[in-house]
Amino acid sequence: MFEARLLRSSILKKVLEAIKDLLTQATFDCDDNGIQLQAMDNSHVSLVSLTLRADGFDKYRCDRNISMGMNLGSMSKILKCAGDKDTVTMKAQDNADTVTFVFESPNQEKVSDYEMKLMNLDLEHLGIPETEYSCTIRMPSGEFARICRDLSQFGESMVISCTKEGVKFSASGDIGSANIKLAQTASIDKEEEAVVIEMDEPVTLTFACQYLNYFTKATSLSPQVQLSMSADVPLVVEYRIPDIGHIRYYLAPKIEEDDS
Protein backbone atom coordinates (compact mmCIF):
# COMPACT_ATOMS: atom_id res chain seq x y z
CA MET A 1 0.00 0.00 0.00
CA PHE A 2 1.24 3.43 -0.94
CA GLU A 3 -0.36 6.61 0.30
CA ALA A 4 0.93 10.16 0.29
CA ARG A 5 -1.06 13.18 1.39
CA LEU A 6 -0.31 16.84 0.83
CA LEU A 7 -2.36 19.58 2.53
CA ARG A 8 -1.98 21.84 -0.47
CA SER A 9 -2.34 20.42 -3.94
CA SER A 10 -0.59 23.46 -5.35
CA ILE A 11 2.87 21.97 -4.72
CA LEU A 12 2.12 18.93 -6.78
CA LYS A 13 0.50 21.04 -9.45
CA LYS A 14 3.55 23.24 -9.70
CA VAL A 15 5.89 20.26 -9.79
CA LEU A 16 3.96 18.87 -12.71
CA GLU A 17 4.05 22.22 -14.49
CA ALA A 18 7.78 22.22 -13.99
CA ILE A 19 8.41 18.89 -15.67
CA LYS A 20 5.63 18.15 -18.09
CA ASP A 21 7.01 20.19 -20.98
CA LEU A 22 10.35 18.45 -20.76
CA LEU A 23 9.15 14.90 -20.18
CA THR A 24 6.14 13.15 -21.60
CA GLN A 25 6.30 10.23 -19.20
CA ALA A 26 8.29 9.35 -16.13
CA THR A 27 8.57 6.83 -13.36
CA PHE A 28 7.88 7.89 -9.78
CA ASP A 29 9.97 5.68 -7.52
CA CYS A 30 8.48 5.55 -4.06
CA ASP A 31 10.09 4.13 -0.96
CA ASP A 32 10.28 4.79 2.78
CA ASN A 33 12.19 8.00 2.30
CA GLY A 34 9.86 9.59 -0.16
CA ILE A 35 9.28 9.98 -3.87
CA GLN A 36 12.04 10.20 -6.45
CA LEU A 37 11.86 10.85 -10.12
CA GLN A 38 14.73 10.82 -12.56
CA ALA A 39 14.32 11.06 -16.30
CA MET A 40 16.00 12.42 -19.38
CA ASP A 41 14.14 14.22 -22.08
CA ASN A 42 13.71 12.41 -25.40
CA SER A 43 16.77 13.85 -27.00
CA HIS A 44 19.02 13.05 -24.03
CA VAL A 45 20.19 16.62 -23.56
CA SER A 46 18.71 17.32 -20.15
CA LEU A 47 17.72 15.41 -17.08
CA VAL A 48 15.20 16.08 -14.35
CA SER A 49 15.78 14.83 -10.85
CA LEU A 50 12.98 15.39 -8.39
CA THR A 51 12.98 14.52 -4.72
CA LEU A 52 9.97 14.82 -2.43
CA ARG A 53 10.87 13.71 1.08
CA ALA A 54 8.47 11.62 3.10
CA ASP A 55 8.60 14.07 6.04
CA GLY A 56 7.36 16.86 3.81
CA PHE A 57 4.05 15.12 3.34
CA ASP A 58 1.17 15.50 5.71
CA LYS A 59 0.86 11.74 5.73
CA TYR A 60 3.15 9.28 4.04
CA ARG A 61 3.02 5.53 3.96
CA CYS A 62 4.91 3.17 1.67
CA ASP A 63 4.91 -0.48 2.71
CA ARG A 64 6.72 -1.79 -0.31
CA ASN A 65 8.91 0.10 -2.77
CA ILE A 66 6.94 0.77 -5.88
CA SER A 67 7.72 2.37 -9.22
CA MET A 68 4.84 4.03 -10.95
CA GLY A 69 5.19 4.94 -14.59
CA MET A 70 2.96 7.85 -15.39
CA ASN A 71 1.99 9.75 -18.44
CA LEU A 72 2.69 13.28 -17.29
CA GLY A 73 0.21 14.84 -19.70
CA SER A 74 -2.59 12.76 -18.18
CA MET A 75 -1.40 13.38 -14.65
CA SER A 76 -1.33 17.09 -15.31
CA LYS A 77 -4.89 16.97 -16.63
CA ILE A 78 -6.01 15.29 -13.43
CA LEU A 79 -4.20 17.76 -11.20
CA LYS A 80 -5.84 20.63 -13.04
CA CYS A 81 -9.10 19.30 -11.61
CA ALA A 82 -7.92 20.05 -8.08
CA GLY A 83 -8.42 23.41 -6.43
CA ASP A 84 -5.26 25.07 -5.12
CA LYS A 85 -6.39 24.75 -1.53
CA ASP A 86 -7.58 21.17 -1.87
CA THR A 87 -5.83 18.39 -0.02
CA VAL A 88 -4.42 15.83 -2.39
CA THR A 89 -3.79 12.17 -1.64
CA MET A 90 -2.01 9.78 -3.97
CA LYS A 91 -2.83 6.13 -3.43
CA ALA A 92 -1.83 2.86 -4.98
CA GLN A 93 -2.06 -0.80 -4.04
CA ASP A 94 1.17 -2.77 -3.95
CA ASN A 95 0.81 -4.46 -7.29
CA ALA A 96 -1.65 -2.08 -8.81
CA ASP A 97 -1.64 -0.91 -12.36
CA THR A 98 -3.49 2.26 -11.48
CA VAL A 99 -2.93 5.17 -9.15
CA THR A 100 -5.69 7.16 -7.49
CA PHE A 101 -5.69 10.88 -6.75
CA VAL A 102 -8.16 12.06 -4.13
CA PHE A 103 -8.90 15.77 -3.78
CA GLU A 104 -10.72 17.10 -0.74
CA SER A 105 -11.90 20.68 -0.43
CA PRO A 106 -10.80 22.52 2.75
CA ASN A 107 -14.21 22.22 4.36
CA GLN A 108 -14.44 18.52 3.47
CA GLU A 109 -17.65 19.10 1.60
CA LYS A 110 -16.36 18.03 -1.76
CA VAL A 111 -14.33 14.89 -2.33
CA SER A 112 -13.30 13.83 -5.79
CA ASP A 113 -11.20 10.92 -6.84
CA TYR A 114 -9.48 10.24 -10.12
CA GLU A 115 -7.95 6.98 -11.14
CA MET A 116 -5.18 6.90 -13.70
CA LYS A 117 -3.67 3.97 -15.53
CA LEU A 118 0.00 3.39 -14.90
CA MET A 119 2.46 2.67 -17.68
CA ASN A 120 5.34 0.29 -17.85
CA LEU A 121 8.31 2.36 -18.84
CA ASP A 122 11.75 1.15 -19.54
CA LEU A 123 13.74 4.20 -18.70
CA GLU A 124 17.43 4.53 -18.29
CA HIS A 125 18.68 5.46 -14.85
CA LEU A 126 21.78 7.59 -14.94
CA GLY A 127 24.45 7.68 -12.31
CA ILE A 128 25.25 11.28 -11.50
CA PRO A 129 28.68 11.57 -9.96
CA GLU A 130 29.17 13.82 -6.94
CA THR A 131 30.82 16.90 -8.34
CA GLU A 132 32.48 19.87 -6.75
CA TYR A 133 31.47 22.76 -8.93
CA SER A 134 33.82 25.64 -9.71
CA CYS A 135 31.01 28.18 -9.55
CA THR A 136 27.70 28.32 -7.82
CA ILE A 137 25.35 31.21 -8.32
CA ARG A 138 22.27 31.80 -6.22
CA MET A 139 19.82 34.35 -7.51
CA PRO A 140 16.13 35.18 -7.46
CA SER A 141 14.34 32.59 -9.58
CA GLY A 142 12.14 35.22 -11.22
CA GLU A 143 15.20 37.12 -12.34
CA PHE A 144 16.67 34.01 -13.91
CA ALA A 145 13.44 33.22 -15.74
CA ARG A 146 13.35 36.76 -17.05
CA ILE A 147 16.93 36.59 -18.31
CA CYS A 148 16.32 33.29 -20.09
CA ARG A 149 13.19 34.61 -21.72
CA ASP A 150 14.78 37.85 -22.83
CA LEU A 151 17.94 36.31 -24.20
CA SER A 152 16.18 33.56 -26.09
CA GLN A 153 14.85 36.25 -28.42
CA PHE A 154 18.38 36.89 -29.62
CA GLY A 155 19.71 33.46 -30.30
CA GLU A 156 19.30 29.74 -29.84
CA SER A 157 22.06 29.56 -27.32
CA MET A 158 23.14 31.50 -24.29
CA VAL A 159 26.61 31.91 -22.88
CA ILE A 160 26.86 31.94 -19.10
CA SER A 161 30.14 33.28 -17.89
CA CYS A 162 31.00 33.48 -14.24
CA THR A 163 33.96 35.52 -12.99
CA LYS A 164 35.03 37.29 -9.82
CA GLU A 165 33.13 40.39 -10.86
CA GLY A 166 29.86 38.61 -11.32
CA VAL A 167 27.92 36.54 -13.75
CA LYS A 168 27.26 37.46 -17.36
CA PHE A 169 24.55 36.01 -19.58
CA SER A 170 24.88 36.71 -23.28
CA ALA A 171 23.33 35.73 -26.57
CA SER A 172 23.75 36.84 -30.14
CA GLY A 173 21.95 36.24 -33.39
CA ASP A 174 20.62 37.84 -36.53
CA ILE A 175 19.15 40.89 -34.86
CA GLY A 176 22.17 41.65 -32.74
CA SER A 177 23.51 40.71 -29.37
CA ALA A 178 22.50 40.99 -25.74
CA ASN A 179 24.45 40.94 -22.51
CA ILE A 180 23.13 40.90 -18.97
CA LYS A 181 25.55 41.27 -16.09
CA LEU A 182 24.67 40.61 -12.49
CA ALA A 183 26.96 41.59 -9.66
CA GLN A 184 26.95 40.04 -6.24
CA THR A 185 24.53 41.78 -3.91
CA ALA A 186 26.52 44.03 -1.57
CA SER A 187 24.33 43.92 1.48
CA ILE A 188 21.84 41.19 1.97
CA ASP A 189 18.65 42.55 3.40
CA LYS A 190 16.29 40.06 1.97
CA GLU A 191 17.81 36.68 1.34
CA GLU A 192 15.29 35.94 -1.36
CA GLU A 193 16.39 38.84 -3.51
CA ALA A 194 20.11 38.32 -3.15
CA VAL A 195 22.59 37.33 -5.82
CA VAL A 196 25.33 35.26 -4.23
CA ILE A 197 28.29 33.96 -6.17
CA GLU A 198 30.78 31.43 -4.92
CA MET A 199 33.66 30.88 -7.27
CA ASP A 200 36.89 28.89 -7.27
CA GLU A 201 37.63 29.24 -10.95
CA PRO A 202 35.99 31.29 -13.67
CA VAL A 203 33.79 29.24 -16.00
CA THR A 204 32.23 30.02 -19.36
CA LEU A 205 29.74 27.60 -20.90
CA THR A 206 27.18 27.71 -23.68
CA PHE A 207 23.65 26.29 -23.34
CA ALA A 208 20.54 25.96 -25.46
CA CYS A 209 17.98 28.61 -24.44
CA GLN A 210 15.11 26.30 -25.22
CA TYR A 211 15.97 23.98 -22.35
CA LEU A 212 16.64 26.76 -19.89
CA ASN A 213 13.20 28.07 -20.67
CA TYR A 214 11.77 24.66 -19.86
CA PHE A 215 13.60 24.69 -16.53
CA THR A 216 12.27 28.09 -15.52
CA LYS A 217 8.78 26.62 -15.49
CA ALA A 218 9.76 25.66 -11.94
CA THR A 219 10.09 29.31 -10.94
CA SER A 220 6.93 29.34 -8.86
CA LEU A 221 8.25 26.51 -6.68
CA SER A 222 11.00 28.54 -5.12
CA PRO A 223 11.99 32.20 -4.71
CA GLN A 224 15.63 31.34 -5.36
CA VAL A 225 17.44 29.28 -7.95
CA GLN A 226 20.95 27.90 -7.77
CA LEU A 227 23.13 27.40 -10.84
CA SER A 228 26.22 25.20 -10.52
CA MET A 229 28.83 25.10 -13.24
CA SER A 230 32.22 23.59 -13.94
CA ALA A 231 34.11 23.51 -17.21
CA ASP A 232 32.92 20.83 -19.63
CA VAL A 233 30.27 19.26 -17.40
CA PRO A 234 26.51 19.69 -17.38
CA LEU A 235 24.97 22.72 -15.69
CA VAL A 236 22.81 22.09 -12.65
CA VAL A 237 19.79 24.31 -12.07
CA GLU A 238 18.30 23.66 -8.67
CA TYR A 239 15.04 24.85 -7.18
CA ARG A 240 14.49 24.01 -3.52
CA ILE A 241 10.89 23.29 -2.76
CA PRO A 242 10.35 24.60 0.76
CA ASP A 243 9.99 21.91 3.45
CA ILE A 244 9.70 18.96 1.11
CA GLY A 245 12.53 18.56 -1.36
CA HIS A 246 14.02 19.89 -4.54
CA ILE A 247 13.95 19.71 -8.28
CA ARG A 248 17.24 19.65 -10.16
CA TYR A 249 17.73 20.03 -13.86
CA TYR A 250 20.93 18.96 -15.58
CA LEU A 251 21.76 20.35 -18.99
CA ALA A 252 24.58 19.22 -21.28
CA PRO A 253 26.57 22.19 -22.57
CA LYS A 254 27.05 22.98 -26.22
CA ILE A 255 30.52 22.09 -27.33
CA GLU A 256 32.85 23.47 -29.96
CA GLU A 257 33.00 21.40 -33.09
CA ASP A 258 36.05 19.21 -33.47
CA ASP A 259 36.82 17.09 -36.48
CA SER A 260 38.42 14.17 -34.78
Binding site: S43, N120, D122, E124, H125, L126, P234, D259
Partner: protein, 378 residues
Amino acid sequence: MGILGLSKLIADIAPMAVKETEIKNYFGRKVAIDASMSLYQFLIAVRSQGAQLTSVDGETTSHLMGTFYRTIRLIEDGIKPVYVFDGKPPDMKSHQLNKRAERREEAEKELQKATEAGDTASMDKFNRRLVKVTQQHGSEARQLLKLMGIPVVEAPCEAEAQCAELVKGGKVYAVATEDMDALTFGANVLLRHLTFSEARKMPVQEFHLDQVLRGLELEQTEFIDLCILLGCDYCGSIKGIGPKRAIELIKQHRSIEQVLHNIDTKKYTPPENWEYENARRLFQQPEVTEAKDVELKWSDPDEEGLVKFLCGDKQFNEERVRNGAKKLMKARTGTTQGRLDGFFKVLSTTPNPKRKAEEDKKSANKKAKTPGRGRKPK
Protein backbone atom coordinates in the same frame (compact mmCIF):
# COMPACT_ATOMS: atom_id res chain seq x y z
CA MET B 1 19.02 -8.52 -49.97
CA GLY B 2 19.97 -8.67 -46.35
CA ILE B 3 18.51 -11.33 -44.12
CA LEU B 4 15.11 -12.68 -44.97
CA GLY B 5 12.45 -11.81 -42.41
CA LEU B 6 14.91 -10.93 -39.66
CA SER B 7 13.41 -7.58 -38.79
CA LYS B 8 9.99 -9.13 -38.38
CA LEU B 9 11.39 -11.93 -36.27
CA ILE B 10 13.11 -9.44 -34.00
CA ALA B 11 9.98 -7.33 -33.71
CA ASP B 12 8.02 -10.45 -32.72
CA ILE B 13 10.43 -12.08 -30.32
CA ALA B 14 12.61 -9.29 -29.02
CA PRO B 15 10.56 -6.08 -29.24
CA MET B 16 12.81 -4.55 -26.57
CA ALA B 17 15.61 -4.39 -29.10
CA VAL B 18 13.76 -2.04 -31.44
CA LYS B 19 13.19 1.59 -30.63
CA GLU B 20 11.52 4.17 -32.76
CA THR B 21 12.75 7.71 -32.42
CA GLU B 22 12.80 10.97 -34.26
CA ILE B 23 15.70 11.79 -36.48
CA LYS B 24 16.58 14.90 -34.49
CA ASN B 25 17.42 12.80 -31.45
CA TYR B 26 20.58 11.67 -33.21
CA PHE B 27 22.28 15.06 -33.10
CA GLY B 28 25.96 14.88 -32.40
CA ARG B 29 26.13 11.25 -33.52
CA LYS B 30 28.42 9.98 -36.23
CA VAL B 31 26.66 7.55 -38.49
CA ALA B 32 28.03 5.27 -41.22
CA ILE B 33 25.69 5.11 -44.19
CA ASP B 34 25.71 2.23 -46.62
CA ALA B 35 26.13 4.26 -49.80
CA SER B 36 24.90 1.80 -52.39
CA MET B 37 21.78 1.18 -50.36
CA SER B 38 20.98 4.86 -50.09
CA LEU B 39 21.78 5.55 -53.74
CA TYR B 40 19.41 2.76 -54.69
CA GLN B 41 16.73 4.31 -52.49
CA PHE B 42 17.20 7.66 -54.13
CA LEU B 43 17.03 6.18 -57.63
CA ILE B 44 13.75 4.57 -56.70
CA ALA B 45 12.22 7.34 -54.67
CA VAL B 46 13.47 10.65 -56.02
CA ARG B 47 11.29 11.04 -59.06
CA SER B 48 9.15 13.56 -60.71
CA GLN B 49 5.94 12.28 -62.25
CA GLY B 50 7.18 8.73 -62.08
CA ALA B 51 10.31 9.39 -64.12
CA GLN B 52 13.80 9.78 -62.78
CA LEU B 53 15.33 13.20 -62.82
CA THR B 54 17.81 13.58 -65.62
CA SER B 55 20.44 15.94 -66.96
CA VAL B 56 20.23 17.57 -70.39
CA ASP B 57 21.53 14.48 -72.14
CA GLY B 58 19.27 12.09 -70.30
CA GLU B 59 21.71 10.95 -67.61
CA THR B 60 19.99 10.16 -64.32
CA THR B 61 20.51 12.66 -61.53
CA SER B 62 18.05 11.31 -58.95
CA HIS B 63 20.88 9.85 -56.89
CA LEU B 64 22.67 13.20 -56.76
CA MET B 65 19.51 15.04 -55.83
CA GLY B 66 18.86 12.58 -53.03
CA THR B 67 22.42 12.51 -51.78
CA PHE B 68 22.66 16.28 -51.79
CA TYR B 69 19.43 17.21 -50.03
CA ARG B 70 19.09 14.33 -47.63
CA THR B 71 22.68 14.66 -46.52
CA ILE B 72 22.08 18.33 -45.86
CA ARG B 73 19.07 17.39 -43.82
CA LEU B 74 21.08 14.96 -41.70
CA ILE B 75 23.72 17.60 -41.15
CA GLU B 76 21.15 20.21 -40.20
CA ASP B 77 19.89 17.77 -37.60
CA GLY B 78 23.41 17.67 -36.20
CA ILE B 79 24.25 14.20 -37.47
CA LYS B 80 27.69 13.58 -38.96
CA PRO B 81 27.33 11.12 -41.79
CA VAL B 82 30.06 8.99 -43.36
CA TYR B 83 29.28 7.25 -46.62
CA VAL B 84 30.71 3.78 -47.10
CA PHE B 85 30.94 2.44 -50.65
CA ASP B 86 31.03 -1.21 -51.67
CA GLY B 87 34.21 -2.71 -53.01
CA LYS B 88 34.21 -5.91 -55.02
CA PRO B 89 31.43 -8.31 -54.09
CA PRO B 90 32.58 -11.45 -52.30
CA ASP B 91 32.77 -14.52 -54.52
CA MET B 92 30.03 -16.15 -52.55
CA LYS B 93 27.62 -13.43 -53.53
CA SER B 94 27.94 -14.24 -57.25
CA HIS B 95 25.09 -16.69 -57.06
CA GLN B 96 22.84 -14.08 -55.53
CA LEU B 97 23.99 -11.49 -58.06
CA ASN B 98 23.22 -13.88 -60.93
CA LYS B 99 19.75 -14.35 -59.55
CA ARG B 100 19.27 -10.61 -59.41
CA ALA B 101 20.45 -10.31 -63.01
CA GLU B 102 17.92 -12.92 -64.03
CA ARG B 103 15.16 -11.09 -62.28
CA ARG B 104 16.17 -7.91 -64.04
CA GLU B 105 15.94 -9.64 -67.39
CA GLU B 106 12.50 -10.86 -66.51
CA ALA B 107 11.46 -7.39 -65.45
CA GLU B 108 12.79 -6.04 -68.73
CA LYS B 109 10.66 -8.45 -70.68
CA GLU B 110 7.64 -7.58 -68.59
CA LEU B 111 8.32 -3.92 -69.16
CA GLN B 112 8.34 -4.44 -72.91
CA LYS B 113 5.07 -6.29 -72.69
CA ALA B 114 3.54 -3.55 -70.58
CA THR B 115 4.80 -0.85 -72.93
CA GLU B 116 3.24 -2.62 -75.89
CA ALA B 117 0.00 -2.98 -73.98
CA GLY B 118 0.22 0.65 -72.90
CA ASP B 119 -0.29 -0.33 -69.23
CA THR B 120 1.29 2.64 -67.46
CA ALA B 121 0.89 1.30 -63.94
CA SER B 122 2.89 -1.85 -64.59
CA MET B 123 5.30 0.09 -66.80
CA ASP B 124 6.12 2.17 -63.78
CA LYS B 125 6.40 -0.91 -61.59
CA PHE B 126 8.83 -2.74 -63.84
CA ASN B 127 10.74 0.41 -64.56
CA ARG B 128 11.51 0.64 -60.88
CA ARG B 129 12.52 -2.98 -60.77
CA LEU B 130 15.12 -2.27 -63.41
CA VAL B 131 16.83 0.32 -61.29
CA LYS B 132 20.44 -0.49 -60.68
CA VAL B 133 23.20 1.47 -59.04
CA THR B 134 25.97 1.69 -61.60
CA GLN B 135 29.65 2.49 -61.30
CA GLN B 136 28.93 5.91 -62.69
CA HIS B 137 26.27 6.68 -60.08
CA GLY B 138 28.77 5.71 -57.43
CA SER B 139 31.59 7.83 -58.70
CA GLU B 140 29.35 10.84 -59.19
CA ALA B 141 28.05 10.50 -55.66
CA ARG B 142 31.61 10.25 -54.35
CA GLN B 143 32.54 13.40 -56.20
CA LEU B 144 29.50 15.21 -54.80
CA LEU B 145 30.19 14.12 -51.24
CA LYS B 146 33.79 15.28 -51.49
CA LEU B 147 32.60 18.70 -52.61
CA MET B 148 30.18 18.74 -49.68
CA GLY B 149 33.00 17.98 -47.26
CA ILE B 150 31.54 14.62 -46.21
CA PRO B 151 33.98 11.76 -45.62
CA VAL B 152 33.77 8.73 -47.88
CA VAL B 153 35.12 5.31 -46.96
CA GLU B 154 35.94 2.72 -49.61
CA ALA B 155 35.19 -0.73 -48.30
CA PRO B 156 37.48 -3.43 -49.67
CA CYS B 157 34.45 -5.69 -49.98
CA GLU B 158 30.94 -5.39 -48.54
CA ALA B 159 29.95 -1.92 -47.35
CA GLU B 160 27.82 -3.30 -44.51
CA ALA B 161 30.75 -5.23 -43.10
CA GLN B 162 32.88 -2.10 -43.22
CA CYS B 163 30.13 -0.05 -41.52
CA ALA B 164 29.91 -2.68 -38.79
CA GLU B 165 33.67 -2.51 -38.32
CA LEU B 166 33.46 1.27 -37.90
CA VAL B 167 30.82 0.84 -35.21
CA LYS B 168 32.79 -1.88 -33.45
CA GLY B 169 35.91 0.26 -33.54
CA GLY B 170 34.00 3.17 -31.99
CA LYS B 171 34.51 5.42 -35.01
CA VAL B 172 30.79 5.92 -35.47
CA TYR B 173 27.72 5.41 -33.32
CA ALA B 174 25.59 3.42 -35.73
CA VAL B 175 25.12 2.00 -39.20
CA ALA B 176 22.33 3.45 -41.30
CA THR B 177 21.02 0.96 -43.81
CA GLU B 178 17.85 -0.93 -44.59
CA ASP B 179 19.53 -4.34 -44.77
CA MET B 180 19.71 -6.24 -41.54
CA ASP B 181 23.09 -7.76 -42.47
CA ALA B 182 24.87 -5.13 -40.47
CA LEU B 183 23.69 -6.82 -37.27
CA THR B 184 24.96 -10.16 -38.51
CA PHE B 185 28.30 -8.50 -39.17
CA GLY B 186 28.28 -7.43 -35.53
CA ALA B 187 27.33 -3.75 -35.63
CA ASN B 188 25.84 -2.95 -32.26
CA VAL B 189 23.46 -0.24 -33.42
CA LEU B 190 21.58 -0.24 -36.69
CA LEU B 191 19.34 2.56 -37.89
CA ARG B 192 16.68 2.10 -40.50
CA HIS B 193 14.81 4.78 -42.42
CA LEU B 194 17.40 7.43 -41.61
CA THR B 195 17.73 8.58 -45.21
CA PHE B 196 14.03 8.42 -45.98
CA SER B 197 12.22 11.47 -47.19
CA GLU B 198 11.04 13.83 -44.51
CA ALA B 199 7.62 13.93 -46.13
CA ARG B 200 7.08 10.28 -45.28
CA LYS B 201 7.25 11.06 -41.57
CA MET B 202 8.80 7.69 -40.95
CA PRO B 203 10.36 7.38 -37.52
CA VAL B 204 13.92 6.09 -37.38
CA GLN B 205 14.09 2.50 -36.20
CA GLU B 206 16.97 1.70 -33.93
CA PHE B 207 18.09 -1.91 -33.43
CA HIS B 208 20.49 -2.82 -30.67
CA LEU B 209 22.42 -6.02 -31.29
CA ASP B 210 23.06 -6.75 -27.61
CA GLN B 211 19.35 -6.51 -26.91
CA VAL B 212 18.51 -8.57 -29.98
CA LEU B 213 20.81 -11.29 -28.70
CA ARG B 214 19.40 -11.04 -25.20
CA GLY B 215 15.86 -11.14 -26.53
CA LEU B 216 16.50 -14.12 -28.78
CA GLU B 217 18.73 -15.71 -26.13
CA LEU B 218 21.54 -16.36 -28.55
CA GLU B 219 25.28 -15.80 -28.78
CA GLN B 220 26.64 -13.89 -31.75
CA THR B 221 27.78 -17.08 -33.55
CA GLU B 222 24.38 -18.66 -33.00
CA PHE B 223 22.79 -15.49 -34.28
CA ILE B 224 24.90 -15.73 -37.45
CA ASP B 225 23.74 -19.30 -37.92
CA LEU B 226 20.18 -18.17 -37.46
CA CYS B 227 20.64 -15.53 -40.16
CA ILE B 228 22.05 -18.11 -42.54
CA LEU B 229 19.04 -20.34 -41.90
CA LEU B 230 16.71 -17.41 -42.52
CA GLY B 231 18.41 -16.77 -45.83
CA CYS B 232 21.35 -14.48 -46.50
CA ASP B 233 23.07 -13.16 -49.60
CA TYR B 234 25.88 -15.68 -49.56
CA CYS B 235 24.36 -19.13 -49.66
CA GLY B 236 21.07 -20.94 -49.85
CA SER B 237 18.93 -22.03 -46.94
CA ILE B 238 17.00 -25.16 -46.09
CA LYS B 239 13.72 -25.38 -47.93
CA GLY B 240 10.68 -25.59 -45.71
CA ILE B 241 12.26 -23.91 -42.71
CA GLY B 242 10.78 -20.52 -42.10
CA PRO B 243 11.69 -17.94 -39.47
CA LYS B 244 9.76 -19.66 -36.72
CA ARG B 245 11.31 -23.08 -37.27
CA ALA B 246 14.72 -21.49 -37.73
CA ILE B 247 14.77 -19.81 -34.34
CA GLU B 248 13.38 -22.92 -32.65
CA LEU B 249 16.01 -25.13 -34.22
CA ILE B 250 18.88 -22.81 -33.40
CA LYS B 251 17.71 -22.44 -29.81
CA GLN B 252 17.47 -26.18 -29.46
CA HIS B 253 20.64 -27.23 -31.25
CA ARG B 254 22.78 -24.07 -31.06
CA SER B 255 24.51 -24.53 -34.46
CA ILE B 256 23.75 -25.43 -38.05
CA GLU B 257 25.88 -28.56 -37.75
CA GLN B 258 23.73 -29.83 -34.90
CA VAL B 259 20.55 -28.78 -36.66
CA LEU B 260 21.55 -30.79 -39.74
CA HIS B 261 22.42 -33.69 -37.51
CA ASN B 262 19.02 -33.65 -35.85
CA ILE B 263 16.46 -32.83 -38.48
CA ASP B 264 15.03 -35.18 -41.04
CA THR B 265 17.08 -34.14 -44.07
CA LYS B 266 14.74 -36.02 -46.34
CA LYS B 267 11.87 -33.78 -45.36
CA TYR B 268 13.96 -30.65 -45.16
CA THR B 269 16.64 -30.86 -47.79
CA PRO B 270 19.57 -28.54 -47.37
CA PRO B 271 20.97 -27.14 -50.62
CA GLU B 272 23.59 -29.21 -52.41
CA ASN B 273 27.16 -28.34 -51.40
CA TRP B 274 25.74 -25.99 -48.83
CA GLU B 275 28.47 -23.47 -48.05
CA TYR B 276 27.12 -22.33 -44.72
CA GLU B 277 30.54 -22.63 -43.12
CA ASN B 278 32.00 -20.20 -45.60
CA ALA B 279 29.07 -17.84 -45.16
CA ARG B 280 29.58 -17.99 -41.42
CA ARG B 281 33.25 -17.19 -41.84
CA LEU B 282 32.34 -14.30 -44.09
CA PHE B 283 30.12 -12.84 -41.37
CA GLN B 284 32.66 -13.45 -38.64
CA GLN B 285 35.77 -12.29 -40.45
CA PRO B 286 34.68 -10.13 -43.33
CA GLU B 287 37.23 -8.39 -45.49
CA VAL B 288 37.38 -4.88 -44.04
CA THR B 289 39.79 -2.06 -43.44
CA GLU B 290 40.42 -1.91 -39.72
CA ALA B 291 38.59 0.90 -37.98
CA LYS B 292 41.80 2.30 -36.53
CA ASP B 293 43.18 2.74 -40.04
CA VAL B 294 40.19 4.76 -41.18
CA GLU B 295 40.33 8.48 -40.71
CA LEU B 296 37.10 10.41 -40.83
CA LYS B 297 37.32 14.10 -41.50
CA TRP B 298 34.49 16.48 -42.14
CA SER B 299 35.51 19.64 -43.96
CA ASP B 300 34.04 22.85 -45.35
CA PRO B 301 31.84 22.52 -48.42
CA ASP B 302 33.15 23.85 -51.72
CA GLU B 303 30.30 26.09 -52.82
CA GLU B 304 31.73 27.02 -56.23
CA GLY B 305 32.67 23.43 -56.88
CA LEU B 306 29.14 22.29 -56.04
CA VAL B 307 27.58 24.88 -58.31
CA LYS B 308 29.92 23.89 -61.12
CA PHE B 309 29.21 20.20 -60.60
CA LEU B 310 25.46 20.27 -60.08
CA CYS B 311 24.24 23.22 -62.11
CA GLY B 312 24.60 23.52 -65.85
CA ASP B 313 24.30 20.11 -67.49
CA LYS B 314 22.79 18.46 -64.44
CA GLN B 315 20.09 21.11 -64.29
CA PHE B 316 20.13 21.80 -60.57
CA ASN B 317 18.82 25.16 -59.50
CA GLU B 318 21.82 27.31 -58.68
CA GLU B 319 20.13 29.21 -55.92
CA ARG B 320 19.08 26.05 -54.13
CA VAL B 321 22.55 24.57 -54.44
CA ARG B 322 24.12 27.72 -53.01
CA ASN B 323 21.58 27.68 -50.22
CA GLY B 324 22.45 24.07 -49.50
CA ALA B 325 26.14 24.91 -49.35
CA LYS B 326 25.36 27.72 -46.89
CA LYS B 327 23.43 25.32 -44.70
CA LEU B 328 26.39 22.95 -44.68
CA MET B 329 28.66 25.82 -43.79
CA LYS B 330 26.39 27.05 -41.02
CA ALA B 331 26.22 23.63 -39.45
CA ARG B 332 30.01 23.61 -39.31
CA THR B 333 30.45 26.96 -37.64
CA GLY B 334 27.91 26.52 -34.86
CA THR B 335 28.56 24.68 -31.65
CA THR B 336 27.05 21.26 -31.18
CA GLN B 337 24.75 20.38 -28.37
CA GLY B 338 26.40 17.90 -26.03
CA ARG B 339 24.57 14.79 -24.96
CA LEU B 340 23.85 14.11 -21.33
CA ASP B 341 24.52 10.40 -21.72
CA GLY B 342 28.03 11.40 -22.73
CA PHE B 343 28.56 12.77 -19.21
CA PHE B 344 26.52 10.48 -17.00
CA LYS B 345 26.72 6.71 -17.17
CA VAL B 346 23.59 4.67 -17.61
CA LEU B 347 23.33 2.61 -14.45
CA SER B 348 20.39 0.43 -15.24
CA THR B 349 17.51 0.26 -17.60
CA THR B 350 14.30 -0.39 -15.77
CA PRO B 351 13.08 -3.60 -17.30
CA ASN B 352 9.61 -3.64 -18.61
CA PRO B 353 7.78 -6.36 -16.73
CA LYS B 354 4.61 -6.31 -18.75
CA ARG B 355 6.22 -6.70 -22.13
CA LYS B 356 8.51 -9.35 -20.79
CA ALA B 357 5.55 -11.28 -19.54
CA GLU B 358 4.12 -11.32 -23.04
CA GLU B 359 7.40 -12.60 -24.40
CA ASP B 360 7.39 -15.35 -21.85
CA LYS B 361 3.97 -16.38 -22.87
CA LYS B 362 5.04 -16.59 -26.48
CA SER B 363 7.80 -19.04 -25.84
CA ALA B 364 6.78 -21.08 -22.87
CA ASN B 365 10.07 -22.91 -22.52
CA LYS B 366 11.91 -19.66 -21.98
CA LYS B 367 13.52 -19.17 -18.63
CA ALA B 368 12.35 -16.30 -16.50
CA LYS B 369 14.93 -13.56 -16.53
CA THR B 370 15.62 -10.78 -14.08
CA PRO B 371 12.50 -10.28 -12.02
CA GLY B 372 10.59 -7.09 -12.70
CA ARG B 373 11.27 -4.18 -10.42
CA GLY B 374 8.67 -3.43 -7.86
CA ARG B 375 5.43 -4.26 -9.53
CA LYS B 376 4.61 -7.77 -10.57
CA PRO B 377 3.83 -8.36 -14.21
CA LYS B 378 0.20 -8.65 -14.97
